[in-house]
Amino acid sequence: MIRFENVTKIFSRGTIPAVSNLNIEIPEGTICCMVGPSGCGKTTSMKMVNRLHSITEGKIYIDEVDNSTIDPISLRLDIGYVIQEIGLFPHMTIADNVATVLVEKKWPKQEIGKRVDELLELMGLEPKIYRQRRPSHLSGGQRQRVGVARAMAANPPIMLMDEPFGAVDHIARVRLQNEFLTLQEKISKTIIFVTHDIDEAIKMGDMIAVMREGKLVQYSTPEDLLSTPADEFVANLVGGNRSIKRLHLIRVSEILNRKVATVNMSDTLEAAKKHVIENAFNVVYVVSDTGVLNGFIGKVELKQEGEFVKDVYRSYPEIISDEATLSDALSVMLSNGESYVPVVDDFEHPLGAVSLEDVFKAVRQDD
């Protein structure tokens, strides 16, 4: 648990406080998103937790211990830290970057190697390929993954993440967010997650702290933030169309109830035809021998020349996992140009489909 008690930060005397009288409590195992415009004091608040900045007034308690009484080095060794600009060490390999804290903690070499591989795998980076690479030879998204892996290396109970997914495009960010949420369900860290993207805050946060000019404007759950914004500033930040924002809050898995029949590549078109006619969207999924969703057959494909499924099937430009939000689902529908979106599990085995109608219904129910 992290608790800010009347925390104020003044960088130099006479200037206005970067953070003033901040009071928040972040329960064990939850994500607190700090959100607000640039310069509102998010990074400053976070850096006072691991004492990169001193506190001018007030106290920060970590598990009921005043953090100013803890030696800064051991404090930092036990708090994961993902910096705003990633801050990977360019002269070190990925493995050495990830191992930084473990080396400082004097872990035995063998265990470090094992842990590094474990972390790289956890972050979806094949150790054999990436262990010996330099950060400059990674994509932006991969670098962010390494940054997160490095922060988690010694399995710290607390993580400070300063715009950890800030430097990548929207699609990569959505994927990183979903993966991280799935991970968090398993690891249950206490996390301060700084972002200036309100959509990201709504999606990632168990609680959201909205800040403005160093002051806390509202501290509440995402649902409360959307339904009862504290003032006009928060209402503007959240944006006009709040039911659209609510799409970020609902997972596909929560509303998934449509099954779609599947056929194999080697099945005949005749067999597929029956399913297509019965299905609400007039499609049948085409799966490989291992059950992976390869594509679909719809009415158009049925009319084409060919005897077997494999001769005429078409693949989807985009599919989504059941961990995705309704907002992700909606945007895939738009880009696929269909009124439904295929949903798959972690192994890309089809789970069913979500339709535009399902999405509408979910948002209306929530009202």
């Binding site: 080095i73 060794l77 830290y81 910096i83 990633i86 801050g87 979806g124 390929i129 990674l138």
Partner: protein, 265 residues
């Protein structure tokens, strides 16, 4: 997860496998460059010395160009350069590290300015200046050469460290690295190419400056050049000049190898 890194990697490997024999030959030369160039310059020096001793081209030249004499001057020259730049490295690198410590930043000008001024005084004048204090000989020469190479090494050490992206240092601090660990694991490795560039520049310049030491009786290859000027014997001038040029190339390359070794460690 289908980030494209995997494909790029396999592309690189296959490209390496499919190079033609001629290309491989040139790649081989490139790779052996670190060994080849020092060996070549060393060989050139030996050949030059043997040739000049056996073909001095005149009686006066022959008296000066004998093995004992040339090797003595050569040894003196190398000693001047190595001791001078060695002493400069041992003072400038720690000083450069010191003035980049956060607590010391505001004293930086206090050290920077005198060193800057020292650099603007011509080498010959420095020699003359210290002559009056230390008298003739080796020690004066070493002192002047040391003073002369302080600046490039100090400058490069401090700017190499200061040039590191602040985010990198902050990440290291935030992860709980102690200041001296940050220095050793992050700052020095990242600043190494720039520090080494300063050391290389200083050393190469020193090979030239050391030739002036002969004016205060410290010997070195400068003796060959100055004698050549006095006696109007160009052969002596060329021999001295080419030998010191080759020595500069040799040292530059050896330092380059040292840098590569340090970086890969």
């Amino acid at each position: 997860m289908t980030d494209s890194g995997v494909n790029i990697n396999s592309a690189v490997i296959s490209a390496e496998e499919s190079v033609s024999p001629t290309r491989r030959f040139f790649i081989g030369i490139q790779k052996s460059g670190p060994v080849l160039v020092p060996l070549l310059s060393l060989a050139a020096m030996i050949v030059l010395i043997i040739y000049m001793v056996n073909n001095p081209g005149g009686a006066i030249e022959a008296r000066i160009l004998n093995y004992g004499n040339v090797l003595r001057m050569f040894r003196e020259h190398i000693t001047l350069v190595l001791v001078g730049s060695g002493a400069a490295i041992l003072t400038s690198v720690p000083l450069g590290i010191l003035i980049t410590r956060p607590a010391m930043r505001r004293y930086t000008p206090l050290i920077d300015n005198p060193v800057n001024v020292a650099q603007t005084v011509p080498g010959l004048a420095i020699l003359a200046l210290f002559l009056t204090i230390f008298g003739l000989g080796f020690r004066t020469a070493i002192f002047a050469l040391w003073l002369y190479s302080l600046l490039p090494i100090l400058r490069n050490t401090s700017s190499g460290i200061q040039g590191i992206e602040p985010g990198i240092i902050e990440a290291a601090r935030g992860m709980g690295m102690r200041p001296w660990r940050i220095l050793i694991r992050i700052e020095l490795p990242l600043a190494l190419p720039i520090i080494m560039a300063g050391i290389k520049t200083a050393t190469v310049v020193l090979v030239g400056s050391a030739a002036l030491s002969t004016f205060i009786g410290a010997g070195g290859l400068g003796e060959l050049i100055v004698t050549g000027i006095d006696l109007m014997r160009p052969t002596l001038i060329y021999t001295g000049a080419i030998l010191s040029a080759l020595l500069a190339i040799l040292l530059d390359n050896l330092l380059g190898s040292l840098e590569r070794y340090l970086r890969e460690r």
